[in-house]
Assembly symmetry: C2
């Protein structure tokens, strides 16, 4: 992957820039010793690393605004960072950038159970949002796999989803408002805690904009009452096509499970070897989970298993108690760990129309064979968000390059059938060079004009989302 | 209300402008005879009228683009119009504008039941979208009261809701993509039929933008499988406060009825006199409707009536059959007609946090007494979208002015408690002078900069949304 050329003038002015940051921030909020900034040299796309110019760790919106104002005046790029769990390199530093980490901003500002919202600082971790309200019987719905670590600010930047988002929607569907600091340090409020926030709906543009438009410092989130219970059913099928057809029929019937997770044979085998969850030996597995009262659960699962039976399942197993439910989820939840133990892998994140699932899975198999690599599929099937895992050997020369080439082909396939390069991981640095597959130059130009309005100097989260050649030209003005 | 001053230069060039429109559109698609354009002089805010310069009635996106390009080149304002049912004057003409009516664009372009969407031309009426898919067991959820007449394009412009939107969301939650023609005639696609449409989420900005950014000519809408059944329950309470507290408790408990409708005593009396639905004589009525299978309905209504009983209802009546259900809805559905028979009225459309309902209803009563007018309240209580009806006598000098002054006070109250000037009717011409109550000048400036990007000459839907003095300055450049 190309490395952006740092601005030598910024590098040479480092002491002055750091001094200005120190003048407006508390003593412990500015780090410039390379031994300490090393922790920020990459995120979860750890194949790529770069030491930043400096790191700031503010505690309040006012401190974020002060830091951004200095960088704005000095013309220094800023990389906003939540918890650094991006799989797409969404918070990857450049050498001439200041990383703005919001992990210290983890407070709860307000909870309102009557109106069902919570307001938090954006560095708060996803799971601890639920932690703050669960004693009252509420929860925050979006549940990315990294929810123990990832920050709400990062969730907003990437419009994160999760296994249970089929029913409850992804981040954008559970986000009510944000406090956004623009690159020049001005603070704006967008949306708000009630229905029908006034004015143009700019919240949608901010959510999923990957830190290109501003830094979200506070967020108002919808909270939901916890369901009475939940129960998964495990289904095995004789082929990916049949499992895909079963998913399409469940969706078409208007049933709304909280999750429909799909695993193909390579994934089942790896998980079974690792977690020993007792999965049946078959070509494709679905885990379908429903929530509600016992009567609602019974009724929904009756309808879902009736549909499954029409597709001749080789296994059909409803959880009988809590321990059984945990076992059914165990394999799926350890899928990425299991894969990591036996292989290096690259996790893709394309979306496709649900109805094209069988066709896309078949074509991925053919592509994998062409490249001489294996692909394991594990994904949120209900909403068409795929996570093909390409298995490779990082120590074998040329394998990573072949892996990246196959990944690009699979993502092109997603776009070809009417889908999208990314569902929930974002474009980051990982997919910036593929943007031309999805967009004509005029489309990219339109998106960049939106960034022009929010960040006219193109200082925010550099070298992400847009192809390097294009964004470098923009920054030069 | 102030009338915008027409551009005399445009009026004098009318023959040339009409000739250019005729050159690019079919013979029957351009109307300039004042006898024929009279039908377009107002929408449902019929107290205000103005004959437009001309009217164009295109049949395709290409014809819309051609008409807009002519107006762009000639510097002529354009008023997009769906079915003309706006209660806020959202498609009110100015004397120097061309009305662009999309009523002829009512075709179905594509239905896809596997992926649960329909693509229609934007002039199609709301109810006939459901009409196109109901044989297959599907429906389109948002249901504005005017759904028999109103167009999808207008629904998108105003982000329309309806009685059943508590569960299913309003237009923005059921809109997947649009074809938008910009004022200069360029055609852009925003969003698309699948989850996670690529790129910045500009769909939210377009939805609810009241024709200020472009003309939506085609829309991709989510369709849902029809529920097995539905059942309403009627509840009477001894005061607005108690009924309001009951609504708040239902919402807080996480129950999700499809509708919670609220009527206060003046409204109950008028409806009962008109429709004879057999409503109990009480201070406040709620109609709560749930959907699902018989078992789901029973379970939800059991939980809801248990909550209601804690608030000492003076009446609690669950529909026993279809006829009974119809009777329960009859009074509510005829509320506006009933009011219109005994009074002139002005229908407001503010939103408030659900938890402030009792306090806001009490304050509205006090304000009405101060102004010597009566206010009847009927509204979507579940999501805090109020429709206070101010009753007045149009033939009594000064009554309409007092009515408008009281309306302004009530909307200010909505903003004061944390709500919003408009829930689903839009700002239009009706509330443009109140925008300063909700926004500081800098906020309005930010919204206008978004319009600058889409419509730099400020030709689209003139004299709406922003205070006249502000928008006139913008158009002059």
């Amino acid at each position: 992957m190309d490395v952006p050329v740092p601005d030598a003038a910024i590098l040479s002015r480092k002491p002055a820039i750091v001094a200005r940051l120190r003048a407006v921030l508390p003593r412990d909020a500015v780090i410039d010793d390379p031994a300490e900034t090393r922790a920020y040299e990459c995120d979860a796309l750890s194949a790529y690393r770069m030491q930043p110019l400096a790191v700031v760790l503010p505690r309040t919106t006012a401190e974020v605004a002060a830091a951004l104002r200095v960088c704005w005046e000095e013309g220094v790029p800023v990389v906003p960072r939540g918890a650094g769990t991006s799989l797409a390199g969404g918070s990857m530093p450049t050498a001439d950038a200041v990383v703005l980490g919001i992990a210290r901003m983890n407070g709860v500002l307000e909870t309102d159970y009557d109106n069902r919202f919570i307001r938090v600082q954006a560095g708060r971790t996803n799971l601890s949002v639920t932690g703050a309200v669960e004693a009252e019987g509420f929860f925050y719905a979006p549940d990315p796999s990294s929810q123990l670590a990832c920050a709400i600010g990062g969730n907003i930047a990437m419009n994160s989803g999760g296994a249970h988002c089929l029913k409850y929607g992804v981040t954008t569907n559970n986000l009510l408002g944000v406090t956004l600091v623009k690159m020049d340090g001005t603070v704006v409020e967008i949306g708000g805690p009630w229905m029908d926030a006034p004015g143009l709906d700019l919240l949608g543009v901010v959510c999923g904009s990957e830190g290109q438009l501003g830094v979200v410092t506070e967020a108002t989130l919808r909270i939901l009452p916890k369901p009475e219970g939940a129960r998964p059913v495990l289904m095995g099928f004789s082929s990916n096509e049949v499992a895909g057809a079963c998913v399409a029929d469940i969706i078409k019937a208007g049933l709304l499970p909280v999750a429909i997770e799909f695993m193909d044979r390579p994934c089942i085998r790896a998980c079974e070897a690792f977690a020993k969850a007792g999965y049946p030996d078959c070509e494709a597995l679905l885990i379908v989970e429903v929530e509600g009262s016992p009567a609602e659960i019974d009724e929904q699962l009756a309808a879902i298993t009736a549909i499954a039976r029409r597709h001749d399942p080789v296994a059909l197993e409803q959880a009988t108690d809590e321990a059984h439910a945990k076992r059914i989820w165990l394999g799926r939840k350890s899928a990425f760990g299991a894969m990591g133990q036996i292989n290096d892998y690259m996790c893709l994140d394309g979306t496709i129309p649900v109805s094209t699932l069988p066709q896309v899975l078949r074509r991925i198999g053919e592509l994998a064979a062409d490249f001489g690599l294996e692909v394991a599929n594990v994904f949120h099937a209900g909403d068409g968000n795929m996570h093909p895992l390409i298995l490779y050997n990082a120590n074998k020369p040329g394998d990573q390059e072949r892996c990246e080439a196959l990944g690009a082909e699979i993502l092109k396939l997603c776009v070809e059938v009417g889908g999208c390069l990314t569902g929930e991981h974002g474009v980051g640095i990982e997919k910036r060079d593929l943007m031309g597959v999805q967009y004509r130059p005029a489309d990219l130009e339109a998106q960049m004009r939106v960034k022009d309005v929010f960040d006219p100097k193109w200082l925010l989260n550099p070298a992400k989302v847009f192809p390097l050649a294009v964004s470098a030209g923009r920054r030069a003005g």
